[in-house]
């Protein structure tokens, strides 16, 4: 088992009343799964992903990741944990504008204190694999959306994470580019990477082997 959420509640106060963002979410994810989270805007998809990614906190419930209870960990340990095991892919790519493709992909390795020669080899492999060797010295602004997202995924994969969290990875792409990205996810999943994606699109959700429906912060039956 990769991770487990038990009765997670997350709320914000608005005018003295609790507005629930996540309402009693329980979820168990095994290694090698490909899960799609679906639901309309504001249903809590992103919040759930952020909680799983340890970027966001929750008020109640338990969260275990690889047998570590995340809810009791200190910030420092938590960031160590996600640095090690989780890769993020964003709708808006979130590449660093000042860095080249090569450097964007390299960045997570820098923060893991990996030696320069090893970094070179790893990044070169990744560029090769995604067929973007020729673009390695370009800056994000010089790439198309699809290419940018490829770089984003390459960056998420570079540190060999167990889990990839993708928040609407195709949201800013046209359908053809979107399809390519989803195909890529499928291949990655077949190689053993666990993937959780949030999506609007029924078609994209079908790539997963499990679909979770959210509405107003609660899981609903499909």
């Amino acid at each position: 088992m990769l991770l487990q959420l038990n009765h997670i509640y997350k709320w914000v106060k608005q005018g003295g009343k609790r507005v629930f963002l996540l309402n009693d979410i329980s979820l168990q994810v095994e290694e090698g799964e490909f899960i799609s989270i679906m639901g309309p805007s504001g249903s809590g998809k992103s919040t759930l992903l952020n909680v799983i990614g340890m970027l966001d906190e929750f008020q109640e419930g338990e969260y275990n990741f690889l047998n570590e209870s995340v809810h009791t960990l200190k910030e420092k340990h938590r960031s160590k944990l996600y640095k090690e095991y989780i890769g993020f892919v964003f709708q808006a790519y979130h590449l660093i504008d000042e860095l080249t493709v090569y450097e964007n992909i390299e960045t997570p390795l820098l923060y893991k204190n990996i030696k320069s020669s090893e970094r070179k080899a790893l990044v070169a492999d990744m560029l090769d694999r995604f067929n973007i060797v020729g673009k390695k010295d370009l800056f994000p602004s010089q790439l198309s959306g699809g290419q940018q997202q490829l770089v984003g995924i390459a960056r998420a994969l570079i540190a060999k994470p167990k889990l990839i969290l993708a928040d609407e990875p195709t949201g800013n792409l046209n359908s053809k580019q979107g399809e390519e990205i989803m195909q890529l996810f499928k291949e990655l999943n077949q190689e053993g990477v666990t993937i959780i994606q949030a999506t609007h699109s029924e078609a994209n959700a079908e790539y997963g082997n499990r679909i979770i429906h959210l509405l107003d912060g609660s899981k609903t039956k499909a």
């Binding site: 952020n50 990614g53 970027l55 966001d56 420092k76 960031s79 996600y82 640095k83 993020f88 964003f90 979130h94 590449l95 660093i96 504008d97 000042e98 860095l99 960045t107 997570p108 820098l110 923060y111 893991k112 204190n113 960056r155 540190a159």
Partner: protein, 804 residues
């Protein structure tokens, strides 16, 4: 990783060029000013430090108050050195120096003038360890007919020949003096600026036993660990022992009685205090002194400039935080620790600071000559290049980077990753109020400096236009004319009077500004000692030539013989003598070598400022005793032509001497050179400070408008006018500037009040000056703000609303 930090930092700086420019130019100006002033302060503080035993040397000075006359003299009587050494075990050695006035040297038929020469005791070089290039410091002045020269002076006379053993003729000393030693030129930073030293025996007054006349700079070398204050406490007893009798003889009362109504004593001044902590009358000092007050003022300005520049850096960096927040967020998601982000931001600040420092050194190299002229220094950048100073500079750069960069680095790296990515970190209350605080700080300093500049300017104007009681315009002083000899001066004077452009000529060595003779004499009334008065030895043309106003009695006259015991007083002297309603014909006595002379008052002149406006008008006596050079008052005519004429005639009377003249008006301005320079320096640094503060303000308003881009669009759609939007943007900043006034003005008031204390005649601090300072500051701030905000307000609203 380190390389990566630098690479990223470099790209970030390159990307935001305008921010980088604002940051580094502001810092560079701050650092350049700071370093430049540091050189100045360093130099001022280094005086006398070149003597390895400086901490054990002290100068004997005289302070006192006799019948209301304040005495502050850096020279003391001839026997002081001898007695101190004999009576105090703490005094290891004592030596004296006295100036040679208008020295002249002759070698092989060439005569040299304008040299700086001193009589010194033979043991002088045992106290002052000067660097001897040739000769032995112990024996150099043992022989009465020896002379010691500085290297450059020796070169002047002998060129490349070996000076040792050469004989030169010194002034009126009959036998030629033999060069026994050559010194390395004395450093700039000592009050002993001499090139020629001759034995003290040649000064006839040096063997005098009188404790009443002075004229000897006297230095003591103390035993190690001597407590100055303790030694000073023993001086009064010594004084009583030695001068009790002399006091009684001179003024007829015992020393004890004398001290009851008067204060007079000798004190010790550490050698290293001479340059910055002396307040002695300038004519008793060997060379012009500095003033610790100006060292403080300039240090404060340097510090403030640097602070303002750093504050700018912090302000701009935190203000742009929102721009960088997404990057921070992504990096954190990618696994960056807070520490790594801090290092990243500090690297940027180190790069900026290093660049700014290099720029600053460039600016300094360019401006140092101008600064030297202003400050009267000979500072050179090259003199300061040493391993130690380069290390110091690196520490300085790191210090500034840390100081300016630490706060933004901590703020930025503290963002929560998720909030940072989604740009929810808007203007958080904490950084905004801190930023406001920093803007206030900058404008407190700017406004205070503006106020100070205005007050200094007003005071200088006041001095220029103050009614001095004499006419300083169109007066030419030919002080050196006395050198042609009395008869020839008078003939020369008659020749000059032929020129119709000349109104009158007076013969006197006394002028109210510039180089002048000084003459103080003890005054007795009914044979009781009163105090010392200043005496001007003048002729009958003096009053008209200087435009003095005779308010009672008559001027001197050539028709009446026997004017030598007649005097004209100023009002102050008449008051002190208590002459009342009918001063004409009153008499008093003046101290003389044998018997006191009786003087009769024939006239009263209106008080005039015969000394600088720093001091109150002292009592003055004009006595009829024409000697010295000439003072020429011209009519409203061609002054250049008159000077040509005077020079031509001069050559016929006195071909050996150069024609040297000065304008009284120039000399007058020279008197206030220190303050004027300080005014100029102050205004320059004020402008720089304001400029740097405005750079910061400009940066802040830029980001404020960027942040409110959308709000401005919406407001315009809703019908806001351009002025309303500018007002909206400006309001926040103007409020801060207004708060700055409330802090700046009390501080400015206090400090300027202190500065003005130096002048006996001064302007008052008025509301108007504060209002003016406020207006100028506000105007500058407004101009800076409007530049950006008007542009923002003129923007087409659809553009700003389309962005989301």
């Amino acid at each position: 990783m380190l390389k990566n930090y630098f690479k990223i930092a470099w790209r970030n700086l390159k990307k935001d060029k305008s921010l980088f420019f604002l940051n580094s130019s502001g810092l560079a100006i701050g650092i350049a000013s700071c370093l430049m002033i540091s050189l100045y302060v360093w130099d001022e503080l280094s005086y006398e430090q070149s003597f390895d035993n400086a901490d054990r040397l002290a100068r004997v000075v005289l302070r006192g108050n006799v019948n209301g006359e304040e005495l502050k003299e850096a020279m003391v009587a001839a026997p002081v050195a001898k007695s101190f050494k004999a009576d105090f075990s703490q005094v290891k050695n004592a030596t004296r120096l006295s100036m040679v006035y208008n020295p002249q040297v002759q070698y092989k038929n060439t005569s040299y003038e304008e040299l700086k020469a001193a009589y010194v005791d033979p043991n002088f070089f045992e106290l002052f360890h000067l660097n001897f290039l040739k000769g032995n410091p112990k024996t150099a002045l043992e022989n009465i007919n020896s002379i010691v020269l500085s290297a450059s002076e020796a070169k002047k006379y002998f060129g490349t020949e070996n000076p040792i053993g050469k004989r030169i003729q010194f002034q009126d000393i009959e036998e030629a003096l033999e060069v026994t030693a050559v010194l390395e030129d004395l450093p700039q930073n000592t009050h002993l600026q001499f090139d020629v030293f001759i034995p003290m025996q040649h000064n006839t007054r040096s063997t005098s036993n009188s404790w009443v006349t002075s004229g000897f700079a006297t230095y003591l070398e103390l035993q190690p660990e001597t407590d100055l204050a303790q030694l000073e406490a023993q001086i009064p007893a010594l004084l009583e022992k030695y001068i009790g009798d002399q006091v009684k003889q001179a003024i007829g009362i015992s020393y004890e009685e004398f001290q009851q109504n008067n204060k007079l004593g000798l004190f010790l001044q550490p050698l290293t205090d001479i340059h910055l902590y002396s307040d002695f009358s300038p004519n008793t000092e060997l060379s012009p002194t500095g003033d610790i007050k100006y060292v403080y003022i300039f240090s404060a300005i340097a510090l403030f400039m640097l602070l303002i520049a750093c504050v700018n850096f912090m302000n701009l960096a935190t203000a742009t935080a929102t721009k960088r927040s997404r990057e921070v967020g992504i990096r954190k998601v990618l696994g960056s620790a807070k520490k790594q982000l801090i290092t990243q931001f500090l690297t940027e600040s180190i790069l900026t600071t290093t660049f700014a420092t290099l720029l600053a050194i460039g600016i300094m190299a360019l401006l140092l000559p101008a600064f030297n002229t202003l400050a009267g220094k000979e500072l050179a950048l090259l003199d300061f290049i040493s391993v130690q100073n380069i290390l110091l500079l690196i520490v300085f750069i790191l210090g500034i980077s840390l100081f300016a960069g630490a706060y933004p680095a901590f703020v930025l790296s503290g963002f929560k990753p998720l909030a940072a990515i989604t740009s929810k970190v808007s203007r958080s209350g904490r950084t905004t109020s801190l930023r406001s605080g920093m803007v206030i700080f900058q404008f407190v300093i700017s406004a205070s400096l503006i106020l100070a500049t205005i007050v200094v300017y007003n005071q200088m104007q006041f001095i220029q236009h103050k009614k001095l009681g004499y006419e300083k315009g169109q007066v030419i002083v030919l002080r050196d004319a006395y050198k042609m000899g009395s008869e020839r001066v008078n003939a020369y004077k008659e020749e000059l009077l032929q020129n119709p452009g000349i109104a009158s000529i007076s013969r006197s060595a006394f002028v109210p500004a510039g180089e002048t003779d000084n003459h103080l004499r003890g005054i007795f009334k009914n044979n009781t000692y009163l105090r010392k008065f200043f005496f001007y030895d003048v002729d009958e043309q003096y009053i008209p030539t200087l435009g003095l106003e005779l308010i009672e009695g008559r001027n001197f006259s050539t028709e009446l013989k026997n004017e030598s015991d007649k005097v004209i007083l100023n009002e102050q002297a008449a008051k002190i003598l208590g002459l009342g309603e009918n001063p004409i014909g009153a008499t008093f006595e003046r101290a003389a070598d044998a018997e006191n002379e009786r003087l009769t008052v024939i006239g009263i002149i209106k008080d005039f400022h015969f000394k600088s406006l720093h001091s109150e008008i002292d009592p003055l006596v004009l006595a009829y005793n024409p000697y010295g050079g000439l003072i020429v008052k011209t009519k409203n005519a061609d002054v250049a032509g008159i000077l040509d004429f005077a020079e031509e005639k001069w050559a016929t009377f006195n071909p050996e001497q150069a024609f040297i003249y000065s304008f009284l008006e120039d000399s007058f301005e020279e008197t206030y050179r220190k303050e004027e320079k300080m005014g100029v320096i102050l205004s320059i640094f004020t402008m720089l400070t304001i400029f740097v503060a405005c750079l910061g303000l400009f940066g802040l308003i830029t980001f404020a408008t960027e942040q409110r881009f959308k709000e401005i669009g919406i407001r315009k759609v809703l019908g806001a006018s351009v002025t309303e939007i500018v007002a909206l943007l400006a309001k926040d900043f103007i409020k801060l500037v207004a708060i700055a006034f409330l802090i700046a003005f009390p501080i400015g008031y206090y400090l300027m009040q202190k500065w003005l204390q130096d002048f006996a005649y001064r302007v008052d601090l008025e509301l108007g000056q504060f209002v003016l300072a406020a207006c100028i500051t506000l105007f500058i701030a407004m101009a800076t703000i409007s530049f950006k905000s008007i542009k923002a307000a003129l923007q087409n609203p659809t553009q700003s609303l389309k962005t989301e």
